[in-house]
């Protein structure tokens, strides 16, 4: 289909050009052939006419010699008057060309006419005297005209009826005699010549099919003509008038003037014809040859027809050839198209058509083959690369996960420290970054927090960050100054830091009870301080230099005091240097603004608001660096008290005996808060220890780590101790009091604890409420 279309298009483009070219060639050929034929015909016509005229002239001249010689003989007196009859008789007898001959004398004084005349009568030649009363030759053309003009004269041809019964012409030659010493005109010598030979000569000139030769006399009378009706009846001029061809009259006039030349004439029946005429000078006649154009060019017409037919056949063949050849040449294209589709589907080894030629198709095939080869190589490379990349990416992802895993991300991290609300976030860029933050309690009141940014990115940065963080954890101590901690980390990092990496770092230790904040900066961005009820502002801090650069750098600790409601906001330069598509940085100003705009003063919402602002700024631009924020809100003390009281009425611990220390601490503090005497602590602690142990051992399977709620409160003069667990239902009060008389080793395990509790307290109650074991112990206090 496509192939046909293409070959059709080629043909339709070529065809007009071929036709035009063909037409031009045929036309040129036709014109050339035509002019060549015309030239050839003209030359032929001229030659034919000249040949005919020549052969006529030869005979005519020969005939003319006879009277001329006779005239000389008469003048020289070598012929006697009496012998003339006999002489003429012999003359006619000996010259078959001559029909008759006469010697017409000019009349003598007696006006007597004397003209010996010999003529053919059948096969015999007879002689008479022409001159008679009834035949006054003096006024005959053959005598009168040469006599008057004193020169030889060929009469107009005439039909000699009754005599020769043939077309004759008389040649008259004047002769002279010497009389009294004077040369006087004496008469006319004639010969009558039959023009049969002449008409035969002219008629035998065959010109093509309907062309012919014609002879006209001096008066324009047709002497020979293919149409016998014209002979002797018509002149060329009457025919011109009859046929209404004025041009013929002009040609006729030219002919009888003795001129020669070519002309074109339109004749009835014959049509357009070429006419050449040539005079027969001696007689004053003229010969014309007529070449009908139709026949002149007949061969050409025939040839043209043949050429047209051949051209049509050639054209048809050409079309067939072209469509076949083009079709055949383009057939591989279809196969290529098929192969290309197969290649596109992923089969690079698709079979290609075999091309034996060394043309563009071969080139195409080579290109295809090359493409296939290259594609195969490329795709396999791509696969390898992709695999490698995927591996790297997965490693990077793991690295990132590890990095992220190092960072605390449980919020709130220290629910027991009511003075602090803390939130942090590290949104890493695509690549593993070197940001870090960390916070941990150095003791029950001192919170250590830090933020850092390792130079560079990727695995090295994250490793460096991990090292830094590990150093921080291991070196941080409430007894050390922040400057000391940094110095120590710095000197450790500087060791073996061949890759010259460094980390900007900010560390702070907040005494949660007092709000005292010690901090030290190692080249990190200044944190933002949001004073309660005031606008956010940057810390005015010593910049310091990043860690890992100079191991003997001396850092200085600084100090500030946070009041309730104050908040400190730390961040890395990933935030302030976040770029949008027009390379505008988020900047410190925008950071302050976005913090101020934020409606909430709670760290988590603040951090999230700031992140939203950054994202809004960056818009579609890719995040290029880690975004790390850490915000710590130091709460008011009165808030702490009310909330603290409520909060500290109970404690939730793991069902682990190890938790007893924590429980003891809490109990002591709780008792002191309740304003109970310190000495009560030992008893209460013992009771709680026994109750807790019971639950751990009996309510739960060993190794289980479930929560146990412990609350301690006063109801009037009663101290109420309540323990709640979700373990299996276990009523310690249902146990019989142990037999204390039996040595401890032999007694049943358990039972002793509850016995002790009962002894030390005033009431022990057990209840199972909604799958929860509730043990309530009461003791009267002062």
């Amino acid at each position: 289909m496509i192939r046909e279309k293409l070959s059709y298009r080629i043909i339709s483009r070529l065809l007009p050009a071929i036709l035009l070219l063909g037409a031009a060639i045929v036309t040129a050929y036709y014109l050339f052939a035509r002019s060549s034929i015309a030239e050839h015909t003209a030359a032929n016509a001229q030659m034919t006419a000249k040949n005919s005229v020549h052969s006529i002239e030869k005979i005519v001249k020969q005939a003319e010699l006879i009277p001329a010689n006779l005239a000389w003989m008469m003048e020289s007196g070598s012929l006697e008057r009496d012998s003339l009859y006999h002489f003429l008789k012999k003359l006619v007898e000996n010259n078959p060309l001559i029909y008759a001959s006469a010697i017409a004398f000019k009349p003598d004084k007696n006006r007597r006419l004397f003209s010996p005349y010999a003529y053919r009568n059948d096969s015999i030649v007879e002689s008479i005297n022409l001159g008679s009363e009834t035949y006054n030759y003096l006024i005959m053309d053959w005598y009168q005209i040469p006599a008057m003009l004193k020169k030889p004269y060929w009469t107009e041809p005439y039909y000699d009826e009754g005599g020769a019964n043939a077309l004759l012409s008389t040649y008259s030659h004047p002769f002279y005699l010497i009389k009294n010493g004077n040369r006087e005109f004496a008469g006319i010598i004639t010969i009558d010549i039959s023009l049969e030979w002449l008409t035969q000569t002219v008629s035998s000139v065959k010109i093509l099919e309907s062309g012919y030769a014609l002879l006209i006399s001096g008066n324009g009378v047709y002497v020979t003509h293919p149409d016998r009706n014209n002979i002797m009846n018509h002149t060329i001029f009457t025919r011109a008038k009859e046929m209404e061809i004025p041009k013929l009259r002009e040609i006729g006039r030219s002919m009888i003037r003795g001129e020669s030349g070519f002309d074109t004439i339109e004749l009835p029946q014959i049509g357009k014809a070429l006419l050449y005429y040539e005079p027969i000078t001696s007689t004053g006649w003229s010969l014309g040859v007529i070449y009908p154009y139709k026949e002149m060019y007949a061969s050409l017409q025939k040839l043209n027809l043949v050429i047209v037919i051949l051209s049509a056949i050639a054209l048809a063949l050409l079309i067939i050839f072209i469509s076949t050849i083009v079709g055949r040449m383009l057939r591989p294209l279809t196969k290529f198209a098929k192969s290309a589709r197969v290649v596109a589907e992923g089969n690079f080894s698709a079979e290609l058509p075999q091309i034996t030629s060394k043309d563009e198709m071969r080139e195409l095939r080579d290109s295809f083959e090359f493409m296939q080869r290259e594609l195969t190589v490329y795709i396999s490379n791509l696969r390898e690369t992709t695999t490698a990349k995927e591996k790297i990416e997965s490693e990077l992802r793991i690295a990132k996960e590890i990095q992220m895993g190092m960072i605390p991300h449980i919020f709130p991290p220290f629910p027991q420290i009511k003075q602090i609300d803390l939130y942090a976030m590290l949104e890493s860029a695509k690549e593993v970054g070197g940001d870090l933050y960390d916070f941990f309690l150095l003791d029950e009141r001192n919170l250590c927090f830090a933020i850092g940014d390792v130079s560079g990115k990727g695995i090295p940065a994250s490793l460096f960050m991990a090292v830094t963080r590990t150093l921080l954890r291991s070196l941080a101590d409430r007894d050390k100054t922040t400057a000391t901690i940094l110095s120590e980390i710095n000197s450790t990092l500087c060791l073996n830091n061949d890759s010259n990496m460094f980390v900007t770092f900010f560390i702070g230790i907040l005494d949660t009870t007092t709000g005292d904040l010690r901090y030290c900066n190692a080249g990190h961005n200044p944190p933002v301080l949001i004073k309660s009820g005031a606008k956010a502002e940057y810390f005015e801090i010593t910049k310091g230099i990043p860690l890992g650069l100079f191991d003997d750098f001396t850092f200085n600790e600084q100090f500030t005091k946070l009041n309730g409601g104050d908040q400190i906001f730390l961040y890395t330069d990933g935030l302030t240097e976040a770029e949008n598509s027009s390379n505008e940085l988020f900047s410190e100003n925008r950071l302050i603004d976005s913090i101020n705009i934020s409606e909430s003063r709670l760290p988590e919402s603040l951090v999230k608001d700031v992140l939203r602002s950054v994202k809004l700024h960056v818009a579609d631009n890719e995040q290029s660096d880690d975004l790390t924020m850490l915000s710590i809100l130091y709460k008011r003390s009165d808030e702490d008290n009310s909330k603290g009281k409520e909060a500290e009425k109970s404690i939730t611990v793991q069902s682990d005996i190890a938790q007893l220390q924590r429980i003891n601490n809490w109990t002591e503090e709780r008792l002191s808060r309740l304003g109970l005497p310190e000495e009560l602590g030992n008893t209460v602690n013992l009771v709680i220890e026994e109750a807790f142990s019971n639950i751990v051992f009996y309510a739960y399977e060993p190794g289980d780590s479930e929560k146990i709620d412990l609350s301690l409160d006063c109801e009037g003069n009663m101290l109420v101790i309540e323990l709640r667990d979700r373990g299996r239902a276990f009523d310690p009060t249902a146990k019989k009091d142990p037999d204390t008389t039996i040595p401890a080793e032999e007694r049943e395990i358990g039972g002793l604890g509850i016995f002790l509790i009962k002894k030390l307290t005033d009431s022990v109650e057990y209840a199972r409420i909604d799958g929860v074991n509730v043990l309530t112990i009461r003791k009267v206090v002062k």
């Binding site: 053309d141 005209i145 008057m148 003009l149 009378v221 009846n233 001029f237 006729g252 006039r253």
Partner: protein, 303 residues
Amino acid sequence: MRIPKSFLIALLLLTFIQNISAQERSKIVFTPQWQPQAQFAGYYIALEQGYYSQAGLDVTIKHPSATSDIIKILTMGEADIVSAFLIHGMKAQRRGLPIKHFAQMLQHSSLMIVSRKESGIESVEDLGGRKLGIWSSGFDDLIFAMLEERKIDVRIVRILNTVNLFLEGGVDAMTVMHYNEYNTIVNCGVNPEELNTFFMRDLGLNVPEDALYCLESKYKENPEVMEAFAEATLKGWEYAANHKDYAIDLVVRHMKNANLPNNRVHQRWMLERVLEAIDPGEKPVGRGKLSKQDLQLVTSVIN
């Protein structure tokens, strides 16, 4: 004009039937003064169309030879009626020949002198001292009358009947008939504009030409026959005027029968000129009649 074959056959049959009763008809031999040509088309038609037989005439047309004297033919009794120049007839009558003019066919003179323009002859006066070809057979009375009247001395060259001497330049001028030799000259390739023509009719000599003559005795015997002949002939001419092609066909046939060179072009010319000459035109005379003025003119020429 073509006559349907069936009509011609019917006509022939009719002629045949009429011939049976020819004994009762007047037998007429008519001889024109020259060989067959369109000059006599009217006679051929009158015969062919049966006008003569309708008039009770049994006419035979018998042409003379080129050299015959027409008046002699009449007086010798070789013909009952001849056509002859009025001037010839009158001269014969002068000589006392008993011939009777009973019809005047051609009212106008066609005689003229023609010369080549290159000869410098611009008027008849220029003919003085120049060679003028004149037929040996006569027709020269008017020319001589004209030359005499104008006192022009020309060198007369008698010629038989061709125009060849003129064409060859043997004579400077030549007397010709407008309807015949003039056109022959043109038909020999001389263009009319190369010729100067001097018509006798323009020189005060518009003498009528062809007239019909019979012997006086015959006329006295039976004038109705002669008149009927003239009448039928005029009818023939009228038919010729309306059927020129037919007339020419007929003429050519007669010429062919007489083995004469012929062509329709020349015969048409002649027919048309002769028809013009038959029409009296401004002359106060009927067709076929001779006016008194013309009679006087001819008489004066002869004298």
